[in-house]
């Protein structure tokens, strides 16, 4: 038999001296007791001397066994016959290293959590046999097998030295899938498998709600698989994160008489028990004079705050402006910065699908809906909105190329091809505004809303007349679309009356993005917004398609035959907001997150993107639909390349703030989560090799010894009480011993004292 930690076995053997020493010490230190009836005590002792000595030696022996067994058990003994197969059968050791965002948390010595975990891994590798192979999987999203099992331990050490915390959130599920794939293709009876999971298991690294894949445990053919995880960290770490920049408008219009752009910077600091502190926040722009700074004073327990910035963008030369919010240094640096790419427009290009009118300008009471809209959006040629008329009948893809929005006052004139063009336009992030044709009494075009745009609305074909007109409800539902004028809306809607409109029934399916922005007094929707959902394919099957744009439907034509809206003060601000905020609410143009592999939404502004160039110069190919050849692994501003290799835009990539949550997790909860995948055991940091290098027989033998130790402790307790007779509680008669006697005829000796 040998020991994994022989020093503990020696310590246990040395500790045998302790009970012997105590025994001798107690013998010497016993105070003398004068005793008159000594002759009887000696007589009793002589009779039982052999038994007493035997009991004394037995007790001492058992007491000596206790430290000896404890030392041996802790030293993890291994039987010789157990060692042989272990040495014969090489091991395949897999390290799953958490190099996710939370692994960048630094301690007081500026050492990252990843560095601390890698030290454990290096110690294990140093003590492996030459025949053992080592593989490494990194768990930051996307999880990767960075080294397939190899016997070149030196290269593994070099790999560990090169690993750095990454910006992606820890994806243990993904890492387990990699391991599962690796284990499933192993041949049974090949090698013993030992898996080390090295993580601090902070909230950013674990997701107890998300089940982990079950790992195959090869136990056939004598092959053993063991799983060890480093214990969860328990120390609390302060970490402030910049989680977002929310501009008042997602499209910057420059050059016009616009007020200074505004943006809100959101900060969080996980952990409700955080105390008061100060954070300095700085907002900068890459090609503008933006350089604003504010200070946040956190109150105890405050976990989220936001700061409003108003800034001057100047006159940027590019079509995009990069805004960066940054805070001072804290234990986790990677989430201290947030980037946002804002499209910059000098003009908004709008296509009006309306029949072209010839001749003189008609009087106001004869203006068409399209003319009213044009007056509202582009009253003169010098405004920021450029409107171009296109015949609905002849609409082609080229007509909407590079256009921000399409307004359709005559949907009845659109051909099927025209509806398909509009659908494609919306799918790519365009804004589509539809109003009913003013002269139609039966509106057959509404079928296309469901058939082509797959909108969850059922619009009536027949117009509903409400003479002398329904007022617009001043109970305005909260709407992002009209947020900028929400304060004035109740007053602006008061004079508006609607005499005719198309009743609409919206779908009950709440998963579909649909929102009512204005209602009539009877509850009927006046303005609806939504994103196209699933479209029916030719075979009648539904195919989910993601649409990045937005569709706005007016149920009443903005024409005096339907409503007095065109002549009311609401008309201009309403259409201006629908256009500008509608462009902001398109799903395209949002920042991507590290680890994303499908960023079609983020690249909506750049449909011709063919490649991404990360800040460190690495290029990622972009496939059709916005899928990347590999996931984004770096935070920062990426350059978007066109098919010719020319830069056509920029893309902001930020970290997933949830991945940087440093809140420590309870070991029990983490263990329960892990155990669903495999029988995990905690790695003993003081003896990282004990778990991995010892064979399974070592731990079972140690367990046996511990059980034996418990039995010996119980035996010692029983023997000590039995031999000292302490367990024999003296009854009343026993306690009396020999009774004094007043009468010589009474019994002289109590029953207990009798011989």
């Amino acid at each position: 038999m040998t020991f994994v930690t022989a020093s503990l076995a020696f310590a246990g053997a040395a500790a045998v001296a302790v009970p012997v020493f105590i025994h001798l010490l107690l013998r010497r230190r016993r105070a003398p007791v004068e005793w008159a009836a000594m002759r009887f005590l000696i007589e009793a002792y002589r009779r039982h001397r052999r038994r007493l000595r035997l009991e004394e030696w037995l007790l001492l022996l058992v007491r000596c066994l206790i430290p000896l067994l404890l030392g041996f058990a802790l030293a993890r003994p291994i039987l010789e016959q157990a060692i042989a197969p272990t040495t014969e059968r090489p091991r395949c050791v897999y390290f799953i290293v958490d190099d996710g965002l939370a692994s960048g948390l630094r301690d007081a010595a500026h050492r990252s959590a990843l560095a601390r975990q890698l030290e454990l891994a290096e110690m294990v590798v140093e003590h492996l046999n030459a025949a053992d192979r080592v593989g490494v999987i990194t768990a930051a999203r996307p999880a990767r097998m960075v080294r397939t099992p190899t016997g070149d331990h030196e290269s593994i050490g070099e790999l560990f030295e090169s690993l750095r915390p990454r910006a992606g959130r820890t994806d243990l599920g993904g890492a387990f899938e990699r391991l599962k794939h690796e284990l499933s293709r192993r041949e049974v009876g090949d090698e013993n498998v030992v898996v080390y999971l090295l993580s601090e298991f902070r909230a950013g690294s674990v997701d107890p709600v998300d089940p982990l894949p079950v790992l195959p445990v090869p136990d056939a053919g004598g092959v053993a698989a063991r799983f060890f995880a480093s214990p969860p960290a328990s120390g609390r770490v302060r970490n402030v994160q910049v989680v977002g920049i929310e501009p008042a408008r997602n499209v910057l219009l420059v050059g016009a008489a616009e007020e200074a752009p505004r943006a809100t910077v959101r900060l969080v600091r996980p952990g409700a028990d955080a105390g008061s502190e100060t954070t300095r926040v700085r907002l900068t722009g890459d090609q503008s004079p933006i350089d604003e700074e504010q200070i946040v004073q956190w109150e105890p327990g405050e976990i989220e705050t936001q700061l409003g910035f108003a800034f001057d963008v100047g006159a940027p030369a590019e079509r995009e402006l990069v805004i960066t919010a940054e805070i001072g240094e804290d234990p986790l640096v990677a989430d201290n910065r947030y980037h946002l790419v804002l499209p910059v427009r000098k003009r908004i290009e709008v296509v009006l699908l309306d029949r072209r009118e010839f001749g003189f300008e008609p009087t106001l009471d004869r203006l068409s809906a399209g003319q009213w809209i044009r007056r509202a959006l582009a009253p003169d040629a010098g405004g920021p909105v450029t409107m171009r008329n296109v015949e609905p009948v002849s609409l082609t893809v080229g007509d909407v190329q590079g256009v921000d929005a399409v307004i359709v006052p005559r949907p009845d004139l659109l051909s099927d091809r025209g509806w398909a063009v509009l659908r494609r336009f919306v799918d790519r992030g365009g804004l589509l505004l539809i109003t009913p044709p003013q002269d139609e009494s039966v509106h057959g075009w509404v079928d296309h809303l469901q058939a082509d745009l797959a909108l969850p609305w059922t619009v009536a074909r027949e117009v509903r007349d409400e003479a002398p007109g329904l007022p617009v409800s001043d109970d305005v539902p909260p709407s992002e679309l009209l947020r900028q004028i929400s304060g004035d809306l109740p007053e602006l809607v008061q004079p508006v009356r609607v005499q005719r409109f198309l009743p609409v029934a919206t779908a009950a399916d709440r998963t579909l993005a649909v929102r009512t922005s204005l209602r009539l007094s009877d509850g009927s929707p006046l303005i609806l917004t939504g994103s196209p959902g699933a479209a029916k394919t030719g075979e009648g099957r539904e195919t989910p398609r993601s649409s990045l744009g937005l569709v706005i439907l007016f149920t009443a034509a903005p024409e005096l035959g339907w409503t007095n809206l065109p002549t009311k003060p609401l008309m201009v601000p309403l259409f201006q907001e629908l256009l500008r905020q509608g462009l902001s609410l398109r799903r395209g143009g949002k920042p991507a997150e590290v680890g994303d592999a499908a960023i079609g939404g983020a690249l909506a502004m750049h449909p011709a993107a063919a490649g991404l160039v990360s800040p460190d110069g690495a290029t990622i190919d972009v496939q059709p639909g916005g899928r990347l050849a590999r996931a984004v692994s770096q935070a920062g501003v990426h350059r978007v390349l066109g098919s010719t290799g020319r830069e056509i835009g920029r893309l902001a990539v930020n970290v997933d703030p949830a991945g940087g949550d440093p809140t420590p997790q309870a070991a029990g909860a983490v263990k329960a989560w892990l155990d669903r995948s495999a029988p995990w055991a905690w790695l003993d940091e003081s003896d990282p090799l004990g778990a991995g290098t010892a064979s399974g027989d070592g731990s079972s033998l140690a367990s046996l010894l511990l059980v034996f130790l418990l039995a010996v402790i119980v035996l010692e307790t029983i023997m000590a009480r039995l031999f000292s007779r302490a367990s024999l509680r003296l009854g009343r008669a026993d306690a009396r011993g020999i009774r004094p006697s007043m009468d010589e005829r009474s019994p002289l000796i109590s029953s207990e004292g009798g011989s």
Binding site: L26, R27, R30, A31, P32, V33, E34, W35, A36, A37, M38, R39, F40, L41, I42, E43, A44, Y45, R47, H48, L52, E55, F723, S724, R725, A726, L728, L730, A735, R736, G737, I738, R739, P740, S741, M742, D743, E744, L748, I749, S750, E752, G753, G754, S755
Partner: protein, 324 residues
């Protein structure tokens, strides 16, 4: 429930109370008074065989024996005493061996009792024995008996000849006021020495722990019987000796040079009590086999009841004419 009288005896005859009294004569008087008040009968009463003398009435005397004629003449109460009550020689044999210098009853206050070493006073078997002997002497002298005292260990260390004079009381007290001698017990030798000095028949009251060989004690008692003496053997033991309830291992040192022994008392308790019990049983049977009284006394208990019991027993025997 204790009556007032019982409570008085319990309080005033308890070793704790007696130890508070520094003088042995006071202890003796207190014991006697306690017994008298407890029994309501005088311990001095006799069997009325032949008139001998008058003595002054003391509370507790049998009022039937008041001499009313003397009362009529002198207006004082006198008791009539008889010859048979006053012709008894009482010899008190008190064991002063080392083993008698043992006691576990600790009391507070000042007295001649041993210092316990823990801030209190230790009531030893010897204290108990001398208190009983002094009380008996006091009673006997008041009964006009002659009283002798012998203090013995490995032999007779002090022998006070019998006398019935009132002045003899002081000598008795002086003889009993010593300390244990530090010698071992040699019962047979002490008996031999005493018997060589006392020829005529007497009542011997032996107060001892009897920590000698049982056969030697038996032989000594047989000698007393052979010489026609009567013996009351008061076997005085400490309560701890009879119970042996020490809770932890200890190093025991014999008081009579038996050496040391490291043992766990809990482990040996049963065997020890068996050995001691067997010895005491043998001693008791030896005494009773020759017609002597044997009483075992606990030093933690009141000295009154056992003493009264001895006296009552004694009176009954005299009344039946067994002794005389």
């Amino acid at each position: 429930m204790l009556s007032d009288q019982d409570a008085f005896r319990k309080d005033y005859l308890a070793p704790q109370t007696l130890a508070q009294l520094g003088r042995l004569d006071l202890r003796a008087k207190m014991i006697v008074e306690g017994i008298m008040s407890g029994t309501q009968r005088s311990p001095y009463r006799g069997g009325a065989v032949e008139f001998a003398a008058h003595r002054q009435y003391v509370p507790g005397d049998d009022t039937r024996r008041l001499d009313w004629r003397v009362y009529g003449r002198t207006d004082k109460l006198y008791i009539r005493e008889h010859q048979q009550e006053t012709n008894l020689d009482v010899v008190l044999l008190v064991d002063a061996s080392s083993s008698m210098d043992y006691g576990t009853l600790t009391v507070s206050g000042r007295s001649t009792a041993n210092e316990s070493g823990v801030g209190g006073l230790r009531w030893t078997k010897y204290d108990h024995a001398t208190a009983i002997a002094a009380a008996l002497a006091y009673l006997a002298l008041h009964q006009h008996d002659r009283v002798g005292v012998a203090v013995f260990a490995d032999g007779v260390h002090l022998l006070l000849d019998r006398s019935g004079t009132p002045e003899h009381w002081r000598q008795v007290i002086a003889a009993l006021s010593g300390r244990p001698t530090g010698a071992e017990t040699d019962f047979a030798r002490a008996a031999e020495q005493v018997l060589s000095r006392i020829r005529n028949r007497a009542l011997f009251v032996i107060v001892s722990d009897c920590f000698d060989r049982a056969d030697a004690i038996g032989r000594a008692l047989a000698q007393f019987r052979h010489r026609g003496h009567d013996v009351i053997l008061l076997n005085t033991l400490d309560r701890e000796e009879m119970r042996f309830t020490l809770p932890a291992p200890a190093r025991f040192v014999g008081l009579e040079g038996e050496g040391q022994l490291r043992v766990d008392p809990r482990a040996l308790r049963q065997a020890y009590l068996a050995a001691l019990g067997k010895h005491l049983d043998t001693v008791a049977r030896s005494a009773m086999s020759v017609g002597f009284d044997y009483h075992r006394l606990d030093t933690h208990e009141s000295v009154g009841p056992p003493l009264a019991h001895v006296l009552a027993r004694r009176s009954a025997l005299i009344k039946r004419g067994v002794r005389g």
